[in-house]
Symmetry: C2
Subunit: 131 residues, 2 copies
């Protein structure tokens, strides 16, 4: 059995890798975000998704504010060692801060239009307060 060595992960020049969350039941891709080494370590240790917020420039425990934690059931790393996929149980049923189940709630159709296709699970104002 080979031990996973976090020193082999290829964090980029900003110290980040891409992290994709996939709903374990539906298989829907919920979101993509970024992890630094600490976020990956915490995710692996606690089996709850942690990211690095590039906009807030800090460690981001997903669901800390909304309660919509992502329980990590499986985590996979890619051939280049610079991206991970997590199969998660999305508490609350919604990954997106807009209240949709997935951040990928709009489809670009062949006719050049863009149309909503996600499911609105919550009203962001109820969860995060009016901003």
């Amino acid at each position: 059995m080979e031990k996973f060595d976090i020193d082999k992960v290829k964090f980029d020049e900003k110290g980040l890798i891409a992290a994709i969350a996939q709903d374990e039941k539906s298989g829907n891709i919920l979101m993509i975000a970024w992890m630094n080494r600490e976020a990956l370590e915490k995710t692996l240790a606690l089996r709850k998704a942690h990211y690095w917020s590039r906009s807030r420039n800090k460690l981001w425990f997903k669901g800390e504010e909304s309660g919509n934690v992502q329980e990590v059931k499986n985590i996979y790393i890619d051939c280049d060692m610079d991206a991970v996929v997590m199969k998660v149980n999305q508490i609350g049923g919604a990954a997106c801060h807009t209240g949709f189940d997935t951040c990928f709630f709009r489809e670009i159709k062949e006719d050049g239009t863009i149309t909503g296709c996600g499911e609105k699970v919550f009203n962001p104002e109820d969860v995060y307060g009016k901003k």
Copy 2:
């Protein structure tokens, strides 16, 4: 019907967005790569996945060399307008240059080990030649 406006896509400081390919049938996440504006335009126009190769610094028509083209069945864009998910028909059954069906062919287990979990579809030497 709202028209998709590529000018609203938030390409990063390198002119790139993240692009995730998902197998339309199995739901498996096959790979993550990057698109610049031209790659996204070509993908939308031709319904075949095009990426920007960061290592080769050029437009990359996936499958150009191996024949393992990705036929794009659906394409979704995220809330931040900086990532897309494509549901694809992966010709040849393998997305990864290592010959595995998916680039995410290794799982990091809870016990701290890393184990193969993908399916080897082809021998890279047969497809790309010995290097």
